[in-house]
């Protein structure tokens, strides 16, 4: 729904299907969300949830089977390749693996200046200066200019990747598990850096993660994905304190907390055996303690329940909240 801040990018009813060996795989199934200017949307899900596919589709790296993708008012589907390429200046990405997302044969300087070169910005001297400024902005030094990725630590590589993403001054940055491969203390440093950069540059983030703790820290809005569908969406309190979808509650109860409470919060859950989804019915049913026995959950098509202006979910029998 509309809010005070503008929507800078959106997916509307986007589906992406692949023909796999065992039938069609719905990597994305009627996904709709939007990114609001200056805010962070966290896309949370496990492997196979479709969150990475959503990112790729938003970045124009993959074509949806149906639905519309808009970035800064432009419909990606209607763009020719060169127009799409030019639009990339506004939306950049930082990926998960710190080392493999940097070309191991290039120096740091070359890596960070590559978007500048691609968009013909400045000349060699001005680019060098810009790169040095970017290095400082991400907490690195001029001495790192000539280093190669394998000479840097994971955290440093990730900073280089962030510097590269910022080089052309984008409006939107997609962070695809950008801190997942980092050590705990390095993760903290990079999260702080990302927050600081977002504030100073007014960036919009799409933050993809499987880590609920990180999602909680970074997000203004959270969308929980399960097997290609957004099953719940809301702000921090909505999702963490008032979760309605059983997958969300299951996820929250599975996360081991780093606290000394004697009560072991690890819960065993229903076995997840893959089972075909009947059309538009619930895709979580086979894992849901509640839905397994309900007839509705087996065949009734899903419809979004709008709980409040910020909170919505996809469930016939959601968790009851006072």
């Amino acid at each position: 729904m509309t809010s005070q801040t503008d929507s800078v990018a959106s997916l509307s009813g986007v589906s992406r299907t692949f023909k796999g060996k065992t039938g069609t795989v719905h990597a994305l199934d009627n996904v709709t969300f939007d990114l609001k200017a200056g805010k962070t949307l966290a896309l949370v899900g496990e492997s196979g949830s479709g969150k990475t596919t959503a990112a790729r589709v938003l970045l124009g790296l993959d074509q949806p089977s149906s639905g519309k993708i808009e970035v800064l008012g432009r419909n990606l589907g209607s763009l020719k390749y060169e127009e799409l390429r030019l639009l990339r200046r506004e939306i950049q990405v930082v990926q998960q693996d710190p080392f493999s997302q940097l070309n191991r044969r290039h120096s740091v300087e070359r890596i960070i200046s590559s978007p500048l070169i691609a968009f013909n910005i400045g000349d060699k001297q001005s680019r060098r200066k810009q790169v040095i400024d970017l290095l400082k902005a991400v907490g690195l030094e001029e001495e790192h200019l000539n280093r190669r990725p394998h000479e840097l630590s994971g955290g440093q590589c990730q900073r280089v990747a962030i510097a590269r993403a910022l080089a052309v001054d984008p409006k939107i940055v997609v962070l695809d598990e950008a801190v997942s491969a980092l050590d705990v203390s390095v993760r903290a440093q990079v999260l702080n850096l990302l927050r600081e950069i977002q504030a100073s540059r007014g960036l919009t983030y799409l933050f993809i993660t499987h880590d609920l703790g990180v999602a909680h820290y970074v997000a203004d809005e959270i969308a929980v994905m399960f097997r290609g569908r957004i099953v719940e969406r809301g702000n921090r309190d909505d999702v963490f304190k008032q979760s309605r979808h059983h997958y969300t509650t299951g996820l929250l109860s599975s996360v081991p907390l780093a606290s000394p409470t004697a009560e072991k919060r690890i819960s065993g859950q229903v076995q997840s055996l893959p089972s075909p989804v009947e059309g538009d019915a619930c895709n979580y049913r086979s894992r849901c303690a509640v839905g397994l026995d309900r007839e509705d959950c087996k065949s009734l098509p899903m419809q979004i329940t709008q709980g409040s202006s910020t909170h919505s979910w996809l469930c016939h029998s959601p968790v009851v909240r006072p």
């Binding site: 970045l59 990926q95 590559s114 978007p115 968009f119 990747a161 052309v168």
Partner: protein, 270 residues
């Protein structure tokens, strides 16, 4: 730990062989075609280091000049194989789809043809010369290069850094050259070495069976052919050219192996 494979022993050996053979006119003690019947059939002596053949021609000089021809043909063939093969494989790897299928099945088909038979057909058609032989050998070696290039480019194109380059706005046309090539260069170099060894082998084989360089010009293979008939009494006719071929092939293979091992050790770290 950077192992400078440029300075390895096999690398040095290759340069030595190349240098010696290419400098044949300067180094050879005698004119390779100079007939000196008086010295005919002499074994290795102070005068003829590697002996003399049935016409008294100095074997050492003939080997030097012969090496020149073999090396030149082999190097030219290797370069041709590299150019054809790399382009072949890159196009297949970048385009994928039916282009990929078509190109790779063609490569498979070419590899399935017995090499000697292929050479025979080609040589019958265009004759054997210092121009045609590199092309024939080059074509024979290009399918393996193509397959290697294709697989290398496909692997690299699925890497995160290529995704990052595309997302950063790099044009597709620039991708291969600026991002991918530096990463597959070592593999190409290995293939180059292996091809060089194979090219030497092929040239020597072809000349040995009479499909290659014809007398009076003599490559190592031709020398072996000439000496083969007289192997029992005058072993040195065959022995020295064969030794030269063997050492050259081993040197190229060893060099390629060295690079490969260095690449592998760089990739895996504790």
């Amino acid at each position: 730990m950077k192992f400078k494979w440029r300075y390895s022993f096999s690398g040095f050996l290759i340069l030595l062989i190349l240098g010696i053979c290419l400098a044949a006119p300067i180094l050879a003690p005698y004119d390779p075609n100079a007939i000196a019947v008086a010295d005919a059939f002499s074994g290795p002596t102070a005068k003829n280091w590697m002996g003399a053949d049935d016409l008294g021609r100095d074997s050492f000089s003939r080997i030097l000049y012969g090496g020149r021809i073999t090396i030149l043909i082999a190097m030219a063939a290797t370069l041709i194989a590299l150019l054809i093969g790399t382009t072949w494989g890159l196009i297949a790897g970048v385009r994928r789809g039916w282009v990929d299928e078509f190109l790779m099945r063609t490569a498979d088909a070419t590899m399935a043809i017995p090499q000697i038979l292929f050479a025979l057909v080609c040589v019958s058609a265009v004759g054997a010369s210092i121009i045609s032989l590199p092309i024939v050998v080059g074509i024979l070696l290009s399918p393996t290069t193509a397959r290697m290039a294709r697989s290398a480019v496909v692997t690299e194109l699925s890497s995160d850094y290529v995704t990052a380059a595309i997302a950063s706005g790099t044009k597709r046309s620039k991708l291969i050259l600026s991002e991918v090539m530096p990463n597959i260069a070592p593999q190409l170099l290995v293939q180059l070495s292996i091809n060089a060894a194979a090219a030497v082998m092929l040239e020597a084989t072809l000349s040995f069976i009479g499909l290659g360089i014809q007398p009076p010009n003599a490559s190592w293979g031709t020398l072996m052919l000439q000496g083969y008939a007289k192997i029992w009494n005058t072993y040195w006719f065959v022995f020295f050219p064969a030794l030269a071929v063997t050492i050259t092939i081993l040197a190229f293979n060893a060099y390629g192996e060295r690079i490969r091992v260095t690449m592998d050790s760089r990739r895996s770290s504790v």
